[in-house]
Protein backbone atom coordinates (compact mmCIF):
# COMPACT_ATOMS: atom_id res chain seq x y z
CA UNK A 1 0.00 0.00 0.00
CA UNK A 2 1.34 3.43 -0.88
CA UNK A 3 1.90 6.00 1.86
CA UNK A 4 -0.89 8.35 0.88
CA UNK A 5 -3.49 5.56 1.08
CA UNK A 6 -2.23 4.16 4.37
CA UNK A 7 -4.97 4.72 6.99
CA UNK A 8 -2.27 5.02 9.67
CA UNK A 9 -0.38 7.88 7.96
CA UNK A 10 0.60 10.70 10.28
CA UNK A 11 -1.87 13.22 8.87
CA UNK A 12 -4.71 10.83 9.77
CA UNK A 13 -3.32 10.22 13.26
CA UNK A 14 -3.04 13.97 13.89
CA UNK A 15 -6.77 14.31 13.40
CA UNK A 16 -7.48 12.11 16.40
CA UNK A 17 -8.34 14.10 19.48
CA UNK A 18 -7.24 13.07 22.94
CA UNK A 19 -9.73 10.50 24.22
CA UNK A 20 -11.03 10.41 27.72
CA UNK A 21 -11.48 7.06 29.39
CA UNK A 22 -13.82 7.87 32.25
CA UNK A 23 -14.76 11.51 31.80
CA UNK A 24 -16.02 14.09 29.31
CA UNK A 25 -14.39 17.27 28.04
CA UNK A 26 -16.34 19.85 30.11
CA UNK A 27 -15.63 17.87 33.29
CA UNK A 28 -11.99 17.42 32.37
CA UNK A 29 -11.42 21.09 31.62
CA UNK A 30 -13.26 22.23 34.73
CA UNK A 31 -11.05 19.93 36.79
CA UNK A 32 -7.91 20.98 34.90
CA UNK A 33 -8.56 24.72 35.23
CA UNK A 34 -9.54 24.45 38.89
CA UNK A 35 -6.33 22.59 39.52
CA UNK A 36 -4.27 25.05 37.47
CA UNK A 37 -5.55 27.92 39.62
CA UNK A 38 -4.78 26.02 42.83
CA UNK A 39 -1.27 25.27 41.53
CA UNK A 40 -0.69 28.87 40.41
CA UNK A 41 -0.77 27.67 36.77
CA UNK A 42 2.18 25.34 37.26
CA UNK A 43 1.64 21.65 36.73
CA UNK A 44 2.56 18.50 34.84
CA UNK A 45 0.70 16.17 32.53
CA UNK A 46 2.12 12.77 33.41
CA UNK A 47 2.16 9.59 31.38
CA UNK A 48 4.34 6.96 29.75
CA UNK A 49 5.52 7.05 26.10
CA UNK A 50 2.65 7.10 23.61
CA UNK A 51 -0.08 7.69 26.18
CA UNK A 52 -1.49 10.81 24.51
CA UNK A 53 0.25 13.61 26.44
CA UNK A 54 1.14 15.55 23.29
CA UNK A 55 -2.35 15.03 21.88
CA UNK A 56 -3.85 16.33 25.12
CA UNK A 57 -1.52 19.34 25.03
CA UNK A 58 -2.75 20.21 21.54
CA UNK A 59 -6.36 20.13 22.74
CA UNK A 60 -5.45 22.06 25.89
CA UNK A 61 -3.78 24.81 23.83
CA UNK A 62 -6.97 25.29 21.81
CA UNK A 63 -8.94 25.50 25.07
CA UNK A 64 -6.49 27.97 26.67
CA UNK A 65 -6.44 30.16 23.57
CA UNK A 66 -10.24 30.17 23.48
CA UNK A 67 -10.15 31.45 27.06
CA UNK A 68 -7.85 34.29 25.94
CA UNK A 69 -4.67 32.91 27.47
CA UNK A 70 -1.45 33.62 25.62
CA UNK A 71 0.35 30.34 25.05
CA UNK A 72 3.92 29.55 23.99
CA UNK A 73 4.57 25.92 23.06
CA UNK A 74 8.08 24.48 23.30
CA UNK A 75 8.94 20.93 22.37
CA UNK A 76 11.71 18.52 23.25
CA UNK A 77 12.01 14.89 22.21
CA UNK A 78 14.53 12.08 21.93
CA UNK A 79 16.17 13.82 18.96
CA UNK A 80 16.20 17.26 20.58
CA UNK A 81 16.94 16.78 24.23
CA UNK A 82 17.79 20.36 25.20
CA UNK A 83 17.67 23.94 23.95
CA UNK A 84 20.82 25.82 22.97
CA UNK A 85 22.04 28.36 25.54
CA UNK A 86 21.11 31.21 23.18
CA UNK A 87 17.53 30.00 23.32
CA UNK A 88 17.44 30.26 27.12
CA UNK A 89 18.76 33.80 26.86
CA UNK A 90 16.14 34.72 24.28
CA UNK A 91 13.40 33.06 26.31
CA UNK A 92 14.43 34.98 29.42
CA UNK A 93 14.33 38.29 27.57
CA UNK A 94 11.04 37.72 25.77
CA UNK A 95 8.93 36.04 28.41
CA UNK A 96 5.68 37.82 29.20
CA UNK A 97 4.01 37.91 32.59
CA UNK A 98 0.66 37.04 31.01
CA UNK A 99 1.71 33.99 28.99
CA UNK A 100 1.58 30.32 29.75
CA UNK A 101 4.63 28.36 28.70
CA UNK A 102 3.97 24.76 27.67
CA UNK A 103 6.95 22.43 27.49
CA UNK A 104 6.20 19.11 25.81
CA UNK A 105 8.85 16.54 26.69
CA UNK A 106 10.23 18.05 29.90
CA UNK A 107 11.70 14.68 30.91
CA UNK A 108 14.42 15.26 28.30
CA UNK A 109 16.02 18.07 30.32
CA UNK A 110 18.74 17.12 32.75
CA UNK A 111 18.39 18.28 36.35
CA UNK A 112 20.36 21.52 35.99
CA UNK A 113 18.75 22.52 32.68
CA UNK A 114 15.35 21.88 34.20
CA UNK A 115 16.15 24.04 37.22
CA UNK A 116 17.38 26.81 34.92
CA UNK A 117 14.29 26.51 32.72
CA UNK A 118 12.05 26.68 35.78
CA UNK A 119 13.95 29.73 37.04
CA UNK A 120 13.62 31.57 33.73
CA UNK A 121 9.92 30.79 33.37
CA UNK A 122 9.06 31.94 36.90
CA UNK A 123 8.13 35.32 35.35
CA UNK A 124 5.46 33.72 33.16
CA UNK A 125 1.88 33.39 34.31
CA UNK A 126 2.10 29.64 34.05
CA UNK A 127 4.19 26.62 33.16
CA UNK A 128 2.62 23.37 32.00
CA UNK A 129 4.84 20.43 31.13
CA UNK A 130 4.43 16.89 29.88
CA UNK A 131 6.73 14.33 31.42
CA UNK A 132 6.93 10.67 32.38
CA UNK A 133 7.24 10.93 36.14
CA UNK A 134 5.68 13.14 38.80
CA UNK A 135 8.99 14.59 39.93
CA UNK A 136 9.18 18.00 38.25
CA UNK A 137 5.93 19.83 38.92
CA UNK A 138 2.75 18.88 40.77
CA UNK A 139 0.53 16.58 38.72
CA UNK A 140 -2.28 18.16 36.73
CA UNK A 141 -3.52 14.96 35.14
CA UNK A 142 -2.23 11.45 34.47
CA UNK A 143 -2.69 10.08 30.96
CA UNK A 144 -3.76 6.49 31.07
CA UNK A 145 -4.17 3.99 28.24
CA UNK A 146 -5.80 0.61 27.85
CA UNK A 147 -6.88 -1.74 25.09
CA UNK A 148 -10.35 -0.24 24.92
CA UNK A 149 -8.84 3.15 24.12
CA UNK A 150 -6.75 1.59 21.35
CA UNK A 151 -9.84 -0.08 19.88
CA UNK A 152 -11.70 3.26 19.99
CA UNK A 153 -8.88 4.93 18.06
CA UNK A 154 -8.84 2.12 15.50
CA UNK A 155 -12.59 2.52 15.08
CA UNK A 156 -12.18 6.25 14.47
CA UNK A 157 -9.50 5.58 11.84
CA UNK A 158 -11.05 2.61 10.09
CA UNK A 159 -14.72 2.37 10.98
CA UNK A 160 -16.17 -1.17 10.98
CA UNK A 161 -12.95 -2.52 9.43
CA UNK A 162 -11.37 -2.01 12.87
CA UNK A 163 -13.19 -5.12 14.14
CA UNK A 164 -10.98 -7.34 12.01
CA UNK A 165 -7.89 -5.96 13.76
CA UNK A 166 -8.95 -6.58 17.37
CA UNK A 167 -6.77 -9.65 17.95
CA UNK A 168 -3.82 -8.00 16.22
CA UNK A 169 -4.38 -4.84 18.27
CA UNK A 170 -4.35 -6.83 21.52
CA UNK A 171 -1.05 -8.48 20.58
CA UNK A 172 0.60 -5.23 19.50
CA UNK A 173 -0.61 -3.45 22.64
CA UNK A 174 1.10 -6.09 24.79
CA UNK A 175 4.18 -6.16 22.57
CA UNK A 176 4.60 -2.36 22.83
CA UNK A 177 3.65 -2.24 26.50
CA UNK A 178 0.77 0.15 25.96
CA UNK A 179 2.68 2.66 23.81
CA UNK A 180 -0.17 3.57 21.46
CA UNK A 181 2.05 5.65 19.18
CA UNK A 182 4.24 2.61 18.52
CA UNK A 183 1.23 0.34 18.07
CA UNK A 184 -0.15 2.67 15.38
CA UNK A 185 3.26 2.83 13.70
CA UNK A 186 3.35 -0.97 13.67
CA UNK A 187 -0.06 -0.99 12.02
CA UNK A 188 1.29 1.51 9.45
CA UNK A 189 4.10 -0.90 8.56
CA UNK A 190 1.74 -3.86 8.35
CA UNK A 191 -0.51 -1.97 5.94
CA UNK A 192 2.47 -0.75 3.91
CA UNK A 193 3.81 -4.30 3.58
CA UNK A 194 0.45 -5.81 2.73
CA UNK A 195 0.38 -7.91 5.92
CA UNK A 196 -3.11 -6.63 6.68
CA UNK A 197 -5.70 -5.51 4.19
CA UNK A 198 -8.06 -2.71 5.13
Amino acid sequence: MIARDNPFRVTQLHQIRYRLLNSDWPTLFTTLFDRLVILNYRGAIIGPHGSGKTTLIETLIIELTTRNFIVRLLRLNEEKTNFPFSFYRELASTIRPDEIIILDGAEQLDYFSWQYFKFITRKAKGLIITTHNADRLPTLIECDVNKELLNNILWELLGPAANSLRDQADKLYDQHQGNLRNVLRAFYDMCANGEIMI
Binding site: A3, R4, N6, V10, T11, R185, Y188, A192
Partner: protein, 124 residues
Protein backbone atom coordinates in the same frame (compact mmCIF):
# COMPACT_ATOMS: atom_id res chain seq x y z
CA UNK B 1 -18.53 27.22 -2.87
CA UNK B 2 -15.13 27.43 -4.50
CA UNK B 3 -14.24 25.49 -7.61
CA UNK B 4 -10.88 24.96 -9.19
CA UNK B 5 -10.09 23.48 -12.58
CA UNK B 6 -6.88 22.84 -14.43
CA UNK B 7 -6.65 22.75 -18.19
CA UNK B 8 -4.86 19.59 -19.27
CA UNK B 9 -4.74 17.41 -22.34
CA UNK B 10 -4.26 14.48 -19.98
CA UNK B 11 -7.19 13.27 -17.82
CA UNK B 12 -4.74 12.29 -15.10
CA UNK B 13 -3.43 15.85 -14.79
CA UNK B 14 0.17 14.88 -15.38
CA UNK B 15 2.71 17.61 -16.10
CA UNK B 16 6.44 17.74 -16.70
CA UNK B 17 8.82 19.93 -14.69
CA UNK B 18 8.83 23.54 -15.87
CA UNK B 19 5.53 23.07 -17.71
CA UNK B 20 3.03 25.89 -17.44
CA UNK B 21 -0.19 24.94 -15.69
CA UNK B 22 -3.22 26.95 -16.67
CA UNK B 23 -6.56 26.84 -14.95
CA UNK B 24 -9.50 28.72 -13.59
CA UNK B 25 -10.76 29.42 -10.10
CA UNK B 26 -14.46 30.18 -9.68
CA UNK B 27 -16.39 30.92 -6.53
CA UNK B 28 -19.75 31.79 -5.07
CA UNK B 29 -19.16 32.98 -1.55
CA UNK B 30 -21.91 33.41 1.07
CA UNK B 31 -19.59 35.79 2.93
CA UNK B 32 -17.35 38.68 1.96
CA UNK B 33 -13.74 37.72 1.51
CA UNK B 34 -10.92 40.24 1.80
CA UNK B 35 -8.80 38.46 -0.78
CA UNK B 36 -8.28 35.10 -2.39
CA UNK B 37 -4.98 33.33 -2.67
CA UNK B 38 -3.96 30.68 -5.16
CA UNK B 39 -1.12 28.48 -3.97
CA UNK B 40 1.10 26.10 -5.87
CA UNK B 41 2.62 23.70 -3.35
CA UNK B 42 3.73 20.17 -2.60
CA UNK B 43 3.45 18.16 0.56
CA UNK B 44 4.39 14.75 1.84
CA UNK B 45 2.28 12.17 3.55
CA UNK B 46 3.29 8.95 5.21
CA UNK B 47 4.77 7.45 8.32
CA UNK B 48 6.76 10.52 9.32
CA UNK B 49 5.85 14.14 9.88
CA UNK B 50 4.32 16.02 6.99
CA UNK B 51 6.62 18.28 4.96
CA UNK B 52 5.20 21.13 2.90
CA UNK B 53 6.56 23.81 0.61
CA UNK B 54 4.62 26.62 -1.01
CA UNK B 55 6.33 27.25 -4.35
CA UNK B 56 4.30 30.17 -5.67
CA UNK B 57 1.25 32.22 -4.76
CA UNK B 58 -1.11 34.52 -6.62
CA UNK B 59 -3.14 37.02 -4.63
CA UNK B 60 -6.53 38.00 -6.03
CA UNK B 61 -8.15 41.26 -4.96
CA UNK B 62 -11.07 43.36 -6.19
CA UNK B 63 -13.55 40.61 -6.95
CA UNK B 64 -17.22 40.01 -6.28
CA UNK B 65 -18.75 37.24 -4.22
CA UNK B 66 -19.57 35.36 -7.42
CA UNK B 67 -16.61 35.59 -9.70
CA UNK B 68 -13.85 33.69 -11.47
CA UNK B 69 -10.26 34.21 -12.49
CA UNK B 70 -7.90 32.40 -14.84
CA UNK B 71 -4.45 31.61 -13.51
CA UNK B 72 -1.19 30.12 -14.61
CA UNK B 73 1.84 28.78 -12.79
CA UNK B 74 5.16 27.65 -14.18
CA UNK B 75 6.24 24.48 -12.43
CA UNK B 76 9.72 24.33 -10.90
CA UNK B 77 12.30 21.67 -11.86
CA UNK B 78 11.37 19.53 -8.85
CA UNK B 79 10.67 17.69 -6.66
CA UNK B 80 8.81 15.06 -8.67
CA UNK B 81 5.57 13.46 -7.52
CA UNK B 82 6.15 9.96 -6.18
CA UNK B 83 4.55 7.27 -4.06
CA UNK B 84 6.39 4.87 -1.81
CA UNK B 85 5.50 2.72 1.16
CA UNK B 86 6.90 5.22 3.64
CA UNK B 87 6.27 8.53 1.94
CA UNK B 88 4.27 10.06 -0.90
CA UNK B 89 4.95 13.47 -2.42
CA UNK B 90 1.89 15.20 -3.78
CA UNK B 91 1.61 18.39 -5.83
CA UNK B 92 -1.43 20.63 -5.48
CA UNK B 93 -2.97 23.92 -6.41
CA UNK B 94 -5.23 25.38 -3.76
CA UNK B 95 -7.41 28.45 -3.64
CA UNK B 96 -8.20 29.96 -0.25
CA UNK B 97 -10.61 32.73 0.72
CA UNK B 98 -9.38 34.98 3.53
CA UNK B 99 -10.08 35.50 6.36
CA UNK B 100 -12.45 32.51 6.60
CA UNK B 101 -9.90 30.17 5.00
CA UNK B 102 -12.55 28.29 3.08
CA UNK B 103 -10.60 26.47 0.43
CA UNK B 104 -10.52 23.87 -2.25
CA UNK B 105 -7.58 22.12 -3.85
CA UNK B 106 -6.77 20.04 -6.86
CA UNK B 107 -3.96 17.53 -7.11
CA UNK B 108 -1.79 16.86 -10.09
CA UNK B 109 1.29 14.82 -10.92
CA UNK B 110 4.65 16.32 -11.85
CA UNK B 111 7.03 13.82 -13.37
CA UNK B 112 9.74 14.08 -16.04
CA UNK B 113 8.41 11.13 -18.05
CA UNK B 114 4.78 12.03 -17.31
CA UNK B 115 4.38 8.75 -15.38
CA UNK B 116 3.63 8.52 -11.68
CA UNK B 117 6.82 7.42 -9.97
CA UNK B 118 6.10 4.42 -7.76
CA UNK B 119 8.97 3.73 -5.39
CA UNK B 120 7.11 0.77 -3.87
CA UNK B 121 7.47 -1.08 -7.16
CA UNK B 122 11.22 -1.18 -6.60
CA UNK B 123 11.14 -1.97 -2.89
CA UNK B 124 11.95 -5.44 -1.67
Amino acid sequence: MIQLSIASSDDNLVFAPEDIIRGRAAWTLPFSAQYMELRLFWYTEGKGDCDLSIVNTIRIENFSSQDERPFEFRLPPGPYSFHGKLISLIWCIEVIAFPTKESTKIEFVMSPNKQVIGLHKFAG
